[in-house]
Symmetry: C2
Subunit: 153 residues, 2 copies
DNA sequence: GCACTCCTGACCAAGAAGGTCAGGAAAGTC
DNA sequence: GACTTTCCTGACCTTCTTGGTCAGGAGTGC
């Protein structure tokens, strides 16, 4: 139940790309790496994965760089996380709807399904445009603005 | 963002203990392992961790076994997951409230906080008693009963 | 032709995941 | 007191993941 460095890096780099979208020119990997303090070579691998998933595009050579394949308000955080981490909320590497529980844990499946659903309501709501502007969807903003949400447990 | 075998096993074993709570006698590890089809020796390690976290108790020898340290309706799934997996929704192994984001990813922190909060609303609501009876709290039941929640993505 | 930048695969160290094995230490029974 | 039962503990093991680095190849623009 943790978020990997890779996913964190990927979203941060994508946020930079979203903010640069108005510039109408590709952004170099190096600039992304510096802006977000991410190891360059590792970041390039991540950007490649995002490219393979059709989230970013790239051009090589002088004046080359990366840019978002779609407008920033059409790319969700969920997409990016899935691109680099794979499916969200799998249990023992299999999707919760495929697991068969027996005996007294029969209803555990519904719990894991609910877990996945709740993750989706957050991750699929927030777009890169929301992230950059800071105007998060109300569902997400409400969750994050509760005092209780900020305390460790 | 996945659930480990260990966490899944731990909750399932705890559910069996919850169901056996009325019996007023300890349950052998072997019986738990068989009921939920979990490798016995691995399960014993897990039960030991649960014991160290004060969730179960145990007695050795003939007539020995495991039982819940508290009533089943006072033990949440969140507690069990934390006992075996550690803190929920950490990013790069640090709690989201401690991370400093810069540039265009400044608001990513709120997103991860919201992710954690949404996980908590599910995992901290469901008790072992709910799990065994199948009567999940309405918030959780609603999430799990949506058709959409059951499709892969 | 040359500089620039992405693209790709190989590699690597450390740690986690998912177990197994062997023995020790209580608790109950005869 | 011996014996069985069951938990307790640490050591070990294999495979995969995480979080990178390195070296070179391949487009692109001037």
């Amino acid at each position: 139940m943790r978020v990997s460095a890779k996913a964190d890096y990927a979203v941060r780099a994508a946020a930079e790309l979203a903010a640069a979208q108005s510039e109408e020119a590709p952004v170099k990997g190096e600039r992304l790496a510096e802006a977000q303090d991410i190891p360059l070579q590792f970041l390039e691998h991540i950007l490649l994965e995002l490219k393979h998933h059709g989230i970013v595009r790239a051009r090589r050579g002088a004046k080359g760089g990366y840019w978002l394949a779609r407008p920033a308000d059409e790319v969700t955080v969920a997409e990016i996380v899935r691109a680099v981490e794979g499916p969200i909320a799998h249990v023992q590497s299999t999707p919760p709807e495929d697991i068969e529980y027996r005996g007294n844990s029969k209803h555990l499946q519904e719990v894991w399904i609910a877990v996945r659903a709740s993750l989706r309501t957050v991750l699929e709501q927030v777009t890169l445009a929301d992230l950059v502007s800071g105007e998060l969807p109300s569902v997400v903003g409400d969750l994050a603005s509760s005092k209780d949400a900020w305390v460790a447990r």
